[in-house]
Every structure is written in C-alpha cells, then in structure tokens.
C-alpha cells in the first residue's frame, strides 16, 4: 500500500475516533445527568466547546513547558492511535492497522504515559497547586492500576505467546467463545476491574475531581490549549477502550463493532461511576491492591505452573 | 608415693608454698600482703628447683677434700646435681629484683591514693 494512502486512511481513522470520542463523551454526560434527574447537555456540546475554545481571542502562556504541554498530550493521543490496530480485517496489511507493526503492546503501554507526562509537566509550569495535586493523585492511582493490568496483560501475552496486539486480536476471531473474556477469565476479570481506574470515572476520578480541585491538571489552561486537551481526551478515552477491546473482547472487524464495543466498555465505567461516590486516594490504591491484584496474580499463576 | 624421701618431701613443700602463694595472690586485698604472697610463691619455686637437683646420699658439688675422701675419687658419683643450684641463684636474684620493684610500686601507689587496697587502683578498665 502506498504510504500516502496509508497516511490518509490513518488520518481518517483518527478523525473518526476523535469525533466518536466527543460524541461518546457527550452521551455519557447525558446519561449521568438523566440518572441524576437532570436534562443534561446537548449532544453537540463538545463540538461547541471545542470551537469556542479555539476561538478564544486572548491566549496566555506561563512558559515553554506550559506551552508545549498540550502538544505532548495530543501527540500522546494521536500516537496511541497510530500504534494501535483499529479494525481487524484478517490481514496485517489491512487499511486500519495503522502503524501498529512498528511496535507492540509494550510500546502502547509505555506510550500511554507520554501524554500524561507532557500534560503533567505543562500544568506544573502553570504553577497552580490544584494541577500538582491532581497529577500526584493521578500518578499514584496509575501505579496502583498498572499492577493488576500488567499482570493481566502478561497473562494474555503468555496465553497467545505474543506481545503483538494484532496477533492477539487475530487469535480471538471466530466467535465470542474465543475471546479472552472466556478463554482467560481471570485476566479478563482483572482487566475489567482495573480498567475502571484507567478510564478515570467515579469512584476513581481523582485527577479531575471537579468539586475539589476544579479540573486538576488542566486548571490553568484555557482557550486553544483547552481545546487541544479536550480533543486529546476524547481520543484517549476511545483508545483506552479500544485497547481493552482488542485485548479482552475480541477486537473489532468493522467500525460499527468498534463503536459498539468501545461504547459498552466505556459505559461500564460510567455505570459504576454513577453508582459509587469518589474514593480518597488511599482507598483507591488499596482497592486495586485487593481483588484486581488477586485476580491478576491468579491469571499469572495459571501459566506459571 | 610409695616412699617418702627427702626429694619428695621438699618437692611437696615447694608445691605447697606455691599454692599458698597463689592463694594469697588471689585473695589478699592489701598490696603488701600480695607482695608477701609473691615471695612465698617465689620461695616455693626455689625450693622446687633445689629439690630437683637432689640425689640421695650425695654431697655438695665442690671438688675439695670432702669429695676426694670418697672412695675411687669419682666426682660424678659423689655430688648432687650442680645445675639447679646455679639456676636457683639466678631465680633468687630475679625474685629479689621483682620484689624490690613491687615494693617501690607499693610505696608510690600508697603515696598516690593513701591506700593499699588493690581494688582501688582500677582507673583503667574495660
């Protein structure tokens, strides 16, 4: 395939993901509002926000790191998409596999941090205490989430003897009974619990806890910066869901399946979030060290002996 | 101890004095008494030395008339062992030297603390 065609498809996929992410975000907020007995925002609200933010006339900067923080964030989101096979088409050279063959699961896992890191540093230069608080909470929770997730991912990698996301998806084709959800239930359970933390909804919405620290790291950002961040957030939400989809829920063979599965995965965290109030950080960390960790260890032990 | 000759007796006495000396060294608190105990110990050793040179029925190791009057003029068969007698002389002198030194120490120690109790001189310990 011509590299330019490939780039075009990839860009198209990115746009789909971006817009789907914004729509999904609006949907979830609406669901939340309805559960609370409110009317909620219109579905077009994210687009309105984005254009409004980009259109803001005055922009400020606290310094170079502050300035490139959003760039890091968005690059992180875009990069995640680039390294993730989106839609499975039965061939490693399918049009929606993006650049996933330049790396594997490990690259994705570590590249997730790229955007977080950039945002954290950019927000840090802003000098707002809430930013630092949010980041500190986020990092602590991230570390705790990582442990069960890593165990589960390792288990899946052992199961299929590969780190390649594409191969893992490929191996799950041919019916839902081949999904990791059923072939490796411990790992799947660990992922399902741990991903609540990764997706960052209540009770694990410590980073952006609105009524405590405004919106955390992004507190100091407005205008275009905020727009960038919102875009990045939309992409990253979909990408996280897509990662779990690929690893546990059999991947997607077409865009509809992708949208449905990511919606359900995302909805799971929203569903939990509506029911449970926010944890404190130590509660959150200890929570992940209990059942999810146990499940993760079981998933590993299954293959250790 | 099938036979109690002079050698055995003096040897036993020597050891007895040594034991008394040790007892004194270990129990007496007064420095002068300790020195006395040491001289007793020393004397015991000297007796030991001399009695080890003893040979039954022999005379002093001086080649003079008393030896020459013995039959066949053989010095070897007529005198006791001269070596311990020479050694004991040295031992006595050494004992004298040590005792003299101890006494000098006793004098100075008493001057320093106006006491002769040995357990008072424990500035250096541990």
């Amino acid at each position: 395939m011509n590299i330019y065609v490939k780039l075009a498809y990839t860009f198209l996929g990115l746009m789909i993901v971006l817009n789907w992410g914004m729509l999904m975000g609006a949907t979830m907020r609406k669901i939340g509002a309805r559960v609370a007995g409110r009317h909620g925002i219109p579905f077009k609200q994210p687009w309105i926000d984005l254009f409004k933010n980009i259109g803001v006339r005055t922009t400020i900067t606290h310094g170079i790191m502050y300035y490139i923080g959003p760039v890091f964030r968005l690059t992180g989101g875009v990069g995640l998409f680039l390294f993730m096979p989106a839609v499975f088409s039965g061939s490693p050279y399918g049009i929606w596999t993006n650049f996933s063959f330049e790396g594997d699961l490990i690259l994705i896992l570590y590249f997730q941090v790229f955007g977080m890191l950039g945002m954290a540093l950019g927000a840090g230069e802003g000098g707002h205490p809430y930013a630092a608080m949010g980041i500190a909470r986020g990092l602590a929770q991230h570390a705790a989430v990582e442990l069960p997730l890593t165990l589960a991912f390792l288990s899946i990698a052992i199961q299929y003897d590969t780190f390649s996301v594409y191969k893992i998806v490929e191996a799950q084709q041919g019916g839902f009974q081949n999904w990791v959800l059923f072939t490796n239930p411990f790992a799947a359970a660990a992922v399902i619990l741990a991903m609540l933390g990764a997706l960052g909804h209540s009770p694990f919405n410590l980073v952006k806890a609105p009524n405590e620290i405004l919106i955390g790291p992004a507190t100091e950002y407005e205008g275009s910066y905020l727009g960038f961040m919102q875009s990045a957030g939309a992409i990253i939400h979909v990408m996280e869901a897509m990662l779990f989809m690929n690893l546990v829920f059999g991947g997607a063979t077409n865009w509809f399946e992708l949208i449905l599965k990511t919606f359900l995965i995302y909805f799971w965290s929203v569903f939990v979030g509506i029911v449970f109030p926010r944890f404190k950080i130590e509660q959150s960390v200890t929570w992940f060290f209990k059942v999810p960790l146990l499940l993760g260890v079981l998933a590993i032990l299954m293959y250790s002996f | 101890m099938e036979q109690l000759d002079l050698g055995h007796i003096s040897l036993a006495i020597g050891f007895l004095l040594i034991l008394i000396g040790f007892w004194g060294l270990l129990t007496q608190k007064n420095i002068i008494k300790i020195i006395v105990a040491f001289t007793i110990l020393d004397t015991g050793i000297n007796i030991l030395i001399v009695s080890l040179g003893y040979i039954v029925g022999k005379t002093a190791p001086i080649v003079d008339n008393s030896v020459e009057q013995l039959e066949n003029h053989n010095v070897v068969n007529s005198i006791v062992d001269p070596v311990p007698q020479a050694l004991v002389l040295t031992a006595i002198v050494i004992g004298f030297g040590v005792t003299a030194l101890m006494l000098a120490y006793a004098m100075k120690l008493f001057n320093a603390k106006k006491t002769l109790e040995i357990n008072k001189f424990n500035d250096l310990k541990w």
Binding site: E102, I106, Y110, F114, G124 | L52, K125
Partner: protein
C-alpha cells in the same frame, strides 16, 4: 661481620657505664643510648643483608667457649636476623620519638630503654630455655619500669598490674623450665627438639607449662586485661615499642617453643589465636579511648599471627610470607598509630577530629589504618590473600570465616575512628603541637609501609604481575595536591584519557563496555570538577584511587589482581563518599558492607582456586569445590556493591550526602563495578548449567524486590539526591534481575540498562548536584520554579527522566521492551510483574523530581540564581547526545552488545531487520517509532503554534486562584509530602525491615562487647584470676583430667 654478641655487649657496656657518664648531661646519655641502638640495628641489618642477598648460613654464637648444651648459645639465622632488625629498628625510631620523655626521667630511664631492646634481642636469639626465662624477666622488668614514663596514678596502676601478671606467668614458666631440665637433663632448645621432650614421662605437662606461659605473654583473650591497661596507661611512644618490639619478640619465642612442643599444640595455638583475634576485635568496637582501642587491635593482630603460626604445617612454605606480611604491616602501622596518638594528644576517639587541622597527619593516619585492615598496596593485603587462599585450599573454611569476621570487627572500630577524624566537629579543639623528632619516626614507618608493600608484592610471581601504574599516578596526585584545582583536574583528566588510550586495545568488548563507563564516564564527571574553586585538597588522589581500582578489576587477569583492584576501588570510593557533609555514618556503613562483600569475594576466590593450578580469572568459570557456595559468596560480595536489597542500606546516605560531582561517580559509575562482578560470576556459572538455577532464581527475586523497594522508597523522599540514590538502588535491581535470567534477552536488557543507567543517572545526578550547588539545599520543597532560571538544567532533567521512565521514544524504552520479552521467554512472570510495577512507581518520583524542583512556584530567594555551571553543562550535554543517539539508533548499541553476549548466551532470540528488533513475541522499530512520534509531535505543535500565535506571557502569580492571588510561593508550591495518600495505602511496604535487621545485629554485637568487656574490671587481682583461670581451663582441655 660483627657477631651478634656485640648487641649484648654494647648495650650492657653503655648501660653500665652511664652511671658514670651521666655527669655529661642527659642529652649526651640519650645520644649515647641512641648510638648504641643504632649500632645494634647495624649488626642485625648486616646479618639480615647477608641472609637476604648473600649465601649466609645460620650461625651459632657460643658463650664461654663451650659447646651447647653445656653453655648458652645464641642462634643468628634468617628469621632471627629479620626479627632482631625489626626490634632494633623500632627501638631506634622509638628512641628518637621518646627522646624527650626519656630525657625527662633521666639517664636511668634511658638505660632501661636500652636494656629492654637488648633483652628482646636476646630473647629472639637464645637457644637456652633458662636463658630465655632470664631475659624475658629482664624485658618484663624493663617494661614495668618504662610504663612509668607516663606520670600519674593510672600508669602506676597499670604497671603494678603488669608486674603481678608477669610474675605469675614467669612462675609458671620457671616451674616448666626446671622440670624440663629434670626430665631431660638439658636446657637447650635444640636438645629438646632432638630428644622430642614431649615423649618423656611428664613431658606433656612440662611442655604445657612452658607453652602456656609463652602464650600468656602474648596476652590471649580473655586473660589480657593487664596488657590492655599497659597499652592504655603508658606513654604512647612506649606502647608502640610494646606492640612493635615486645610482641614481635614474644611471637618468635612462641615459634621457637613450638619446635619442640609437638604438632598437637598447633591446633590449640590457632584456637587460642582465633579466640583472641575475634574476641579482642569484638570488644574493640565498644572502645572510646584511642589507646585502649589500639591495644585491643594489637592484641587481636597478635592473635591472628598465632593462628598463622598454628597453621604453619598446613601453610607450608608460604608461612613466612604470610606471617611476615601481616607482622610487618601490624608492626609498622600500629607503631605509627601509637606515635600519632602521642603527637595528637587526643584521648577520646571524637577528639581526633583535631588531626584534620594538619591534613598531612590525616593522610598518615589513613595509611596506617588501611594497612592494618589489609588494603592494597600494603603487605598485609598480600599476606591475607595468601592466608585465605591457603586455608581454603586446605579445607579450613570455618577458620577463614572467623578470621574475616574478626577483620570486619577490627574495621568497624578503626573506620569509625577514622570517620570521626575526618568528619567530627573540630572547631572547639585546640590544635596540637608537633615536635620534629616525633614526626620523623612516623614518617619513616609510613614510607616503609608503602615500600614493603611494593617489595612484598614483588616476592611472588602472582602478585608481581599487578599493574602499579595507576597507583603510582595516585601518588603523583598526592604529591601535587598543593596545586590549584584547575591544574590537578587537567592532570587527572589527561592521565585518565591517556591511560584509556593505552589500555583499550587490550580489552575484549565485554570489558571495554565497562572500561568506557568507568574511565570515559569518569572523565566526564571530572570535567564538572572545574566548577569548584580553591584547592579541593585530597579530592583528586582519592578519586583517581577509585578509578585505578575500577580499571584494575577490568584489566585483572588473575583473581589476585581483581581483588587488588576491588580493594583500591573500595578505599577510593570510601574517601570520596566521606568527603560529603553529614556523610560520616554512611561512609562507615559503606565501608563495612564493602569490606564484608570483599571478604565474601576473597573467600569465594579461595574456594575457586581449590584444585586449580593457577589463579587466573578463568577459574571462576569452572569451580570444582562446593561451587554453589562459591558462586553464592561471589554474588553476595558483588551485591554489596550493587546495593541490592538487604545490602543496600549504605547507599542512600552515601550517595545522597556526597558532593555534587561525586554522586554521579559513585552512582552512575561505581555501582557498575558490582554489575561487572555479577556478570562475571554468572558467566562463570554458565547458562546451560542447571545446578545453579536455584541461585539464579533467588538472584532474580532479589533483583525484582530491590527494584520495588528502591523505587518505592524513592517516592517518599524529600531530598532530591536521596531520591536519586534510592532510584539507583531500584535501577540496579533491574540490572541484577536482567542478568539473573541468564538468557540472551535478559542479558541484553540488563546491559541496555547498564548503559542507560550510566547515561541518565549521570545526567540527573550532575544536574541536580549542580542545582544544589546553586540553591544550597537538597530539599525539593525548598526549590521550585527553577525552569525560569535554569532552562538548560530543566531540559537535561526532562530528558533524563523520560529516558529513565522508559517512555518511548527515548532509550529507556529499549530496556523495558527487552525485559518484557525476556520475562515472557524465561517464564519469570511474577518477578516480571513486580519489575513492571516498579517501573510504574518510577513515574511518581520522576515527576516529583522535575516538578518540585523546576516547575511550580519560583521562590523569592531563588529569583536571581544563575544557570548551572558551564562545567556541569558540558558533561551533561555530552551524555544527552549519547542518550539521543542511543534512542534514535538503538541497533548501533544493541547489536554489538548482542555479539558480546552471544558467546555466553546464544543469540537466536532476537533478530534485527534493519532498524527493527524482532523477537519471538513482538517487534519494535526504534528509529521508526521515534520518527512517527516526532512527526506527530511537530504536526500538533504546528497546529498549536497557529492557533495560539498571539499568546502572551503572564506573571508567576497570574493564576486561577479564586480571584485572589497567592500570598507566597511557598504556600502555593505543592511539593512537600505530595504522595501522602499513597503512603497511607502503602506504608507497610516502606517499613525499613532491613535497616532494623542490621541495627539489631549491630546492637547485639555492641551489647555483647559491652557486657563481655566488664570482665576487665580494672582490678589487678581479677586479672591474676583470669590468668590462672586461663591456665587451668587450657590445662583441662589440652592435658585433660
């Protein structure tokens, strides 16, 4: 040749005549005494020379013109020549040293001193036991008299106890001698040997009496309270004589007596020796009084020499080498220390801080202490090496363990003392005066120590191959220490560069990697040294000493050379570490852990040499005798240097408190020495050898837990350098884990980490160190917002933390990716998961490091600080270039690495397709990933540049703060205890179990020592009781009921 009888004649002639000559003044008599001793020294030197360089045969001197056994004869053989030369030399130097204190007491004291030296000569030479007794008594009386050189009740008390003790001992000796005459009819030692006295009826008990008396003269533990009091109570100059001359003579007497005592005594002598060595050194750790502590040390060393004598049949022809090697070191070093204590006039250990006011004296003190412990290049190093080798080879491993334990105890108190001298507050202490006649002897013994060290090393074939050039360079730097920094730094850098240039063609690639890290890294770290001002006294010699050691272990072809380099490195790094503020306790624990590790390595080398006909380094590839234990010892030894969990407690303080440019040296560079050792060991074990899998498995867990502990502890630090120090522990855990996997991927990952850790830890430590120099604090919460003042430093730290955290596209990801593959390949899933969790934790402290230092709110007092020094920036940015190259083209480094590893671990697990690494599990294209991310980044940046082109800069406090503005930066800067929430969740994992463990051990040892030493109640009678008790217990054990 002058017959040795003149030693006696001249001494007595001068001695007796002084009663008349003292009219000519005390200076004259003093000079006369010294002249007499000089003549005596000359006589023994002449014999020594004849024996050493000529064909001299042992010569008997007959007195009274009759043949022995009818008269008394003296023997002048090779050993006698050496020992009398030692006695006379120290007598001469001591006489010079004590010239004034002897003069003060008058001509009588001078004579007594002369006669003491003479008597010790005769003790050594005489072959008649009764004559031996007489001259032993002479020496005892003379010592009892000379104790009084020091005035006061304390010395009188000590002297009296000494008289009492020796009189009991000599009584026992005399009883033994007279009975030995009674049963054999002779008093001559040679006759005793030829008649084999112990076979006579009652022979055993007679020998016992003589032997026990001679042993008691050597002050065996615990019947030695009187000896300790003498060491403490007498004039330090005289203590040196007791330690150097008297103990030496007594040891030789023991050797003489052993000739007829029968071989069954050898074991008991060793036993008493080892009890003395361990016991004395154990009690030594509780001492606060210098001279008493030195006394404990002297007695301990004599115990060690007794062990050697007891093993003389097993050690065979090496006995003299070992014995004299340790004896010479002890003799010179202890004399030097006692003399120093007389010059410095400090009683308590802490008062020794005053010695720092004259740095040269500190150097002397260090020389003596290192010689005592057995560091290279001193004779004791070579002797101890040979001793351990021979003992292990003869299967006496328990003895080796005991000896090494005792040595560690000795190191504990000596280095604590040294630490006080270097670090303790000394402003309130009055400077000490120096008298020229007291310095000269100290000088001479110090020079002699170095000289003998070289001489001893040339005696045996294996030690003569050691490369002394780096050490000579250290000496050179000592010599030019008075020059300004700029010159010394340049000399050091050029020297290292030149040395590297000459050495690198000789190294294989495996070693070359480490040599580059050590030497090139060392040069980079040294460049930062230009930022310092003044002279920085003592820095360059010790830094180069460390590098000399490091290159030594790389170049080592034999285990001896390796150990030599290892010890040099330990010494050098100890000095480097202890230079920092508040670093004394950490320096001590570093030294002790290092020594413990070094001894483990030493023992392992010994085991490895069993059944081999060489000591080439390759013997560790094929250990025949208890190999698992040997490898375990090696690993434990090396893990002390990699600061793996359990052995890591020294590191945070040592690295955290070190100077700014020292931290990267000891962290980025020095730790790799341990890695090098672990790598060598694992290569030795071999990949295919399953019998060591338990060892490797354990090592893997150690690595994983180390990584977790290190990273977790780093999260909760407030001190930037300690944070980095803990981070080093964690990173080294990764490396150990990788190596322990013993697979190609594991090693590749491990080595990738070795290089990476060197790069980014050097960057981080250098940068943070430079920042600390600017802002004057280690505490991160006192910094903040420094990006505004130090953008270049910020960029360096940013690159450093991205690389460390393993976030693509920088090089840290290489290691992570390799590890994931290796873990899957090896099947160490749980350990692997711990490792990756640790990696996640690393983000926390890395963010904290960069955020709390460079981001957030700039403090008022830092508004004018400058960018970090250019001399720091140069090495930092050189290293950054390294990281960027490695990140962009990982195959440039990984492919050669794979080739290096391939001979040990076959390389079929990873193939390269251009820039793409392909393993069984996945692939990764470093260059491509970097390009993709770079393009994406630039694209996004472009969009943002367009949309925010009108952005204007706002002030620091212009933030969304409820419409108010923050009062002060301190209240707005979130930095202190930021991870409190995590701490609340994870505190059980931060309980310092290891520290508690070591503290308990330390306390236990201290309590034992404190309790045991109470037997030395200071009561002379109790001491006599100890002696009698010792005799009886020994009697019951040896002769039996």
């Amino acid at each position: 040749m002058v017959t040795p009888i003149f030693i006696v004649a001249i001494a007595l002639g001068v001695g007796f005549s002084i009663g008349v000559l003292n009219k000519l003044g005390k200076n004259f008599t003093g000079g006369l005494v010294l002249a007499a001793i000089t003549f005596m020294t000359f006589i023994s030197y002449q014999w020594f020379y004849a024996f050493t360089f000529g064909e001299q045969t042992p010569t008997y001197v007959y007195t009274a013109g009759f043949k022995p056994p009818f008269s008394i004869n003296l023997l002048m053989g090779q050993y006698e020549a050496i020992i009398t030369l030692m006695i006379n030399s120290i007598g001469l130097l001591g006489g010079i040293y004590m010239f004034n204190s002897l003069k003060e007491r008058g001509s009588n004291a001078q004579v007594v001193y002369l006669i003491l030296i003479m008597a010790l000569n005769v003790i050594v030479m005489t072959r008649d036991v009764f004559n031996l007794f007489v001259f032993l008594e002479i020496s005892s009386i003379a010592i009892a008299g000379l104790i009084l050189l020091e005035k006061g009740t304390r010395s009188m008390g000590a002297g009296f106890k000494y008289v009492l003790a020796t009189s009991i001992i000599s009584s026992i000796l005399l009883i033994g001698i007279i009975f030995s005459y009674f049963i054999t009819g002779t008093l001559n030692v040679d006759d005793f040997i030829s008649l084999s006295i112990s076979t006579y009826k009652g022979g055993a008990i007679v020998v016992f009496l003589i032997m026990i008396a001679v042993i008691l003269e050597l002050k065996p533990f615990p019947a030695n309270g009187w000896g300790l009091d003498v060491y403490e109570g007498s004039d330090p100059g005289f203590s040196a004589i007791i330690s150097g001359a008297s103990a030496t003579a007594s040891l030789y007497v023991l050797y003489k007596i052993m000739a007829f005592a029968g071989v069954e005594w050898n074991y008991y002598i060793s036993l008493i020796g080892i009890v003395t060595f361990v016991g004395s050194n154990l009690l030594g750790i509780k001492q606060e009084n210098t001279r008493r502590m030195l006394g404990y040390s002297s007695i301990g060393q004599v115990g060690l020499l007794m062990v050697i004598l007891g093993f003389k049949d097993i050690l065979g022809e090496n006995t003299p080498y070992i014995f004299f090697g340790i004896l010479i070191s002890h003799y010179l070093a202890k004399a030097g220390l006692f003399w120093l204590s007389g010059i410095v006039r400090a009683k308590g250990l802490k008062e020794w801080a005053v010695i720092r006011k004259k740095p040269f004296f500190l150097f002397l003190m260090g020389t003596f202490i290192f010689a005592l412990i057995g560091f290279p290049p001193f004779p004791s190093f070579f002797a101890k090496w040979t001793l351990v080798m021979d003992l292990v080879q003869s299967g006496n491993i328990v003895w080796v363990a005991a000896i090494l334990f005792g040595s560690i105890m000795e190191a504990v108190y000596l280095f604590r003392w040294f630490g006080y001298a270097i670090k303790e507050e000394n402003k309130h202490l009055e400077d000490f005066k120096i008298e020229i006649h007291k310095i000269i002897p100290v000088w001479i013994v110090a020079i002699a120590l170095y000289g003998f060290g070289y001489f001893v090393s040339q005696l045996t074939e294996v030690s003569s191959t050691i490369n002394f050039i780096p050490f000579a360079f250290v000496i050179l730097l000592f010599a030019i220490d008075f020059l300004p920094i700029f010159v010394k730094n340049t000399v050091a850098i050029l020297g290292m560069a030149f040395y590297f240039y000459t050495i690198y063609p000789q190294l294989d690639n495996f070693r070359l990697i480490f040599e580059v890290i050590f030497i090139v890294g060392g040069i980079l770290a040294l460049i930062a040294g230009y930022a310092y001002k003044g002279k920085r006294e003592g820095f360059y010699p010790v830094a180069i000493l460390m590098y000399a050691g490091l290159t030594g272990i790389i170049e080592a072809k034999t285990t001896l050379e390796f150990f030599y380099g290892w010890e040099l490195m330990t010494a050098g790094s100890y000095f480097l570490i202890i230079r920092g503020h508040r670093s004394m306790p950490h320096g001590l624990s570093y030294m002790l852990f290092s020594l413990g590790g070094a001894y483990a390595i030493l023992a392992a080398f010994g085991i490895a040499s069993v059944g081999q006909d060489s000591i080439s380094m390759s013997i560790i590839n094929n250990i025949q005798y208890i190999p698992t234990w040997a490898y375990a010892l090696l690993i434990v030894g090396f893990l002390t240097k990699t600061a793996s969990v359990g052995l890591h407690i020294w590191l945070p303080g040592a690295h955290g408190e070190a100077e700014s440019d020292v931290s990267p040296m000891v962290s980025a560079i020095l730790l790799k020495a341990g890695v090098f050792g672990v790598a060598l060991t694992l290569i030795g074990m071999g990949a295919e050898n399953n019998q060591y899998s338990v060892l490797a498995y354990t090592l893997g867990w150690i690595g994983a837990i180390t990584a977790l502990v290190g990273n977790l502890m780093a999260v909760f630090q407030e001190d930037a350098k300690r944070l980095l120090a803990y981070s080093s522990i964690g990173q080294l855990g990764y490396i150990v884990f990788g190596l322990a996997m013993m697979t190609h991927l594991g090693w590749l990952g491990g080595f990738s980490y070795v290089i990476n850790h060197f790069l980014y830890k050097a960057i981080l430590f250098l940068t943070i160190g430079a920042v600390v120099l600017r802002v004057g604090t280690h505490n991160m919460y006192e910094m903040g917002g420094l990006i505004k003042r130090m953008p270049l430093a910020f960029i360096a730290v940013l690159i450093g933390i991205i690389a460390l955290s393993g976030v693509p596209p920088l090089s840290g990801f290489t290691g992570k990716w390799l590890f994931y593959n290796a873990v899957l390949d090896k099947g160490w899933y749980l350990q692997g998961a711990i490792m990756f969790f640790s990696g996640g934790i690393a983000f926390l402290y890395l963010w904290r490091l960069i955020h709390t230092v460079f981001l957030g709110q700039l403090k008022d007092n830092h508004r004018t600080v400058k960018e970090i020094s250019i001399w720091f920036l140069i090495p930092i940015y050189t290293l950054i270039v390294g990281i960027l190259v490695y990140s962009a083209k990982p195959q440039w480094i990984l492919q050669p690495l794979a080739e290096i590893i391939a001979p040990f671990f076959p390389s079929n697990q990873l193939v390269w397709n251009g820039g793409t690494a392909i393993s069984h599990y996945g692939n990764w294209a470093g260059t491509m990933v970097m390009a993709i991310i770079g393009i994406a980044f630039l694209a996004v940046l472009g969009v943002q540049l367009i949309s925010t082109r009108k952005a204007h800069k706002v002030k620091q406090f212009d933030i969304t703060y409820a419409g108010e503005r923050p009062e002060r930066p301190e209240t707005t800067h979130v930095a202190y205890n930021v991870f409190e929430g995590l701490y609340k969740a994870m505190w059980p994992a931060t309980i310092p179990l290891v520290e508690t463990f070591w503290n308990k051990i330390t306390n236990y040892l201290h309590d034992t020592a404190g309790f045991t030493r109470r037997i030395y109640s200071g009561n002379g009678q109790a001491y006599m009781l100890h002696i009698v008790f010792f005799i009886l217990v020994t009697y019951l054990v040896i002769i039996g009921g």
